[in-house]
Amino acid sequence: MAETSIKASEYEALRNNPYLRRGRLLSVVMRGILFACAALSVAITAAIIWVLVSESWIFFKQVPLLAFLTDTHWTPVFTDAHYGILPLLTATFWAAGIAMAVATPLGLALSIYLSEFARPNLRETLKPILEMLAAVPTVVFGYFALLFLTPLARQFIPGLSGFNLLVPGFVMGIMILPYIVSISEDAMRAVPMSLREGAFALGMSRWRMSMTVIIPAAFSGVTAAFLLGFARAVGETMVVAIAAGQNPNLTADPREGAATITAYIVQMSLGDLPHGSLAYSTIFAAGLVLFLITLAFNVIGFFLRKRFREAY
């Protein structure tokens, strides 16, 4: 027989080859380990929910939900303790709302500019710079807001306090800008070239084409970008903790300072917080509210983005 012919048990020999056996075993074991790594992310989420809910449970056993949602004072460590989340919530939404008021027009203009107007070379240089902006530590932004922009803004805006919601809101708007631009520019660039060509063939200008073709076609992707950006602003901590003050304050005036949910958690964590006390459980109740808000926006953003990706 020729040298390449199969011995009767060649396949069996391969199957029983100890080296190959070890390799197969390693492959299976690694698959399990990799699965465990991936499953860990689910465990993290589960642990987050469990921690927040179980600690909040202790809180809500002593504070009725109705009082939590309707009381207009948040004074957990005073002798006359009140546990109304409204002051923290309004401050949070004020700051995040101001951030969005800044980031929406700037973000839209920048992403249209980068995706439709800028030459590829310019885009390739600008994107890393925007990424650099995203990399600046938030505590540095906080310093900038409190010690540079606030004194500056006080010269122009009468009645602006040293701690206020306006300036940190503005700074957060700039901070989330790179994040928003990167997602919405991706969405715009994903719009098929054929749609653009169709619009140009009708004789549209670049600007008209962006408004009538790109924005509607990329709408769900762009909306997702802004929802995700909003969730970021809501959860942002250091800028507001530094520049918006740590005093719970139910106010309709963003020139005043007011503690957000995140700033409250920071403030309490800095102090001596006895484990198991009601004060300790307040930060988890506040955290639960924060988690639910950001979760809602993230989930909507996720599905809008997914729908957009499936469309193209």
Binding site: V42, Y113, P137, V139, F144, F148, R206, E236, T294, L295
Partner: protein, 313 residues
């Protein structure tokens, strides 16, 4: 007979006006785009210049080798940068293998079923969970339930969890960019799945993965909120035990159990003081912090740039 209908002067003028109007629109928007860009850039510049202007004069050997102090002029960031370095060490050690493993699983192994979908949705949601929530998680579970206390180990763990989604997502992108022909030829020579991954797919994806890990670490280095939440101290006037020692076994893991502070907390602490002299310290810390993160991002961008060029040729 001609089918050409010659344009009247008025029609020609009208269409010329339309073209002019369109051009004008484009120019106006291009200008708006540039203005926005300049505005954002100048804010960034203002931030950097302000910080450097305030703080650069304070950065010297003493500042780097002194512990914090009640007197601003004698205070330094010794314990903070040592703490940051050690915490980053733990974070990298945990986040890199876990994140790469999870990314590899999701991209190459995950079967198409509900459970894979859940993991996928879950990862993208984790990326959106505010960092302070991770702090609460670590406070409730690591610090109290497991009784680990606010140590370097816990600090590193919470930051590792925080950047896990970043590492996972960039690992997946890097793996997706590996040409499928490479996998086919590796399977073609008889590799089993793990051999294909370890010998071929992961090495090809390496630059992208490293970029993701560096970007993740640069995010972790500036994170303040979760570290505050676990109760890291703001005033640390000692160093953790040294990780290396003169006697066998030469390495020592006691430092993992040590209380600590990190650069951003030190900076936050100094910003919160009323005395302007401490603000100078804060600015100096900010300059160091900014330099670290920008350097790390610069390295990441450079790797990506090299990678893109390598792909083009």
């Amino acid at each position: 007979m001609s089918i050409d209908v010659p344009m009247g002067t008025s029609e020609r003028a009208a269409s010329a006006a339309l073209v002019r109007k369109m051009r004008r629109q484009d120019v106006i928007f291009a200008v708006v785009g540039v203005i926005v860009l300049v505005l954002v850039m100048s804010l960034l510049m203002a931030l950097v210049i302000d910080l450097v202007h305030d703080g650069i004069g304070r950065i010297n050997y003493d500042f780097l080798t002194h512990f914090p102090s009640r007197r601003a002029a004698r205070a330094g960031v010794f314990s903070a940068w040592v703490g940051t370095t050690l915490v980053m060490f733990v974070t990298a050690f945990l986040a890199a293998p876990l994140g790469i493993g999870a990314g590899l699983y999701l991209e190459e192994y995950a079967p198409k079923n509900i459970f894979s979908d859940i993991i996928e949705i879950n990862v993208s949601n984790l990326a959106g969970v505010p960092s302070i929530i991770y702090g609460l998680l670590a406070l409730g579970i690591f610090v109290y339930m497991l009784g680990m206390g606010p140590t370097i180990l816990v600090g590193g763990m919470v930051l590792a969890l925080l950047i896990l989604p970043i590492v996972i997502v960039s690992t997946r992108e890097a793996i997706r960019a590996v040409p499928s022909g490479l996998r086919e030829s590796a399977y073609g020579v008889g590799c089993n799945k793990w051999q294909v991954m370890w010998n071929y797919v992961l090495p090809s994806a390496r630059p992208g993965i490293i970029t993701g890990v560096i970007v993740g670490l640069s995010r972790a280095i500036g994170e303040t909120a979760p570290i505050i939440t676990i109760g890291a101290l703001t005033f640390i006037a000692f160093l953790p035990e040294s990780p290396v020692q003169g006697t066998p076994p030469f390495v020592n893991f006691d430092w993992l159990q040590s209380p600590f502070t990190v650069m951003p907390i030190q900076m936050f602490n100094w910003i919160s003081r009323p005395q302007p002299a401490f603000h100078v310290n804060a600015a100096a810390t900010g300059v160091l912090l900014l330099a670290m993160t920008l350097a790390m991002n610069g390295v990441a961008i450079f790797i990506r740039y090299r990678l893109r060029r390598a792909l083009k040729t």
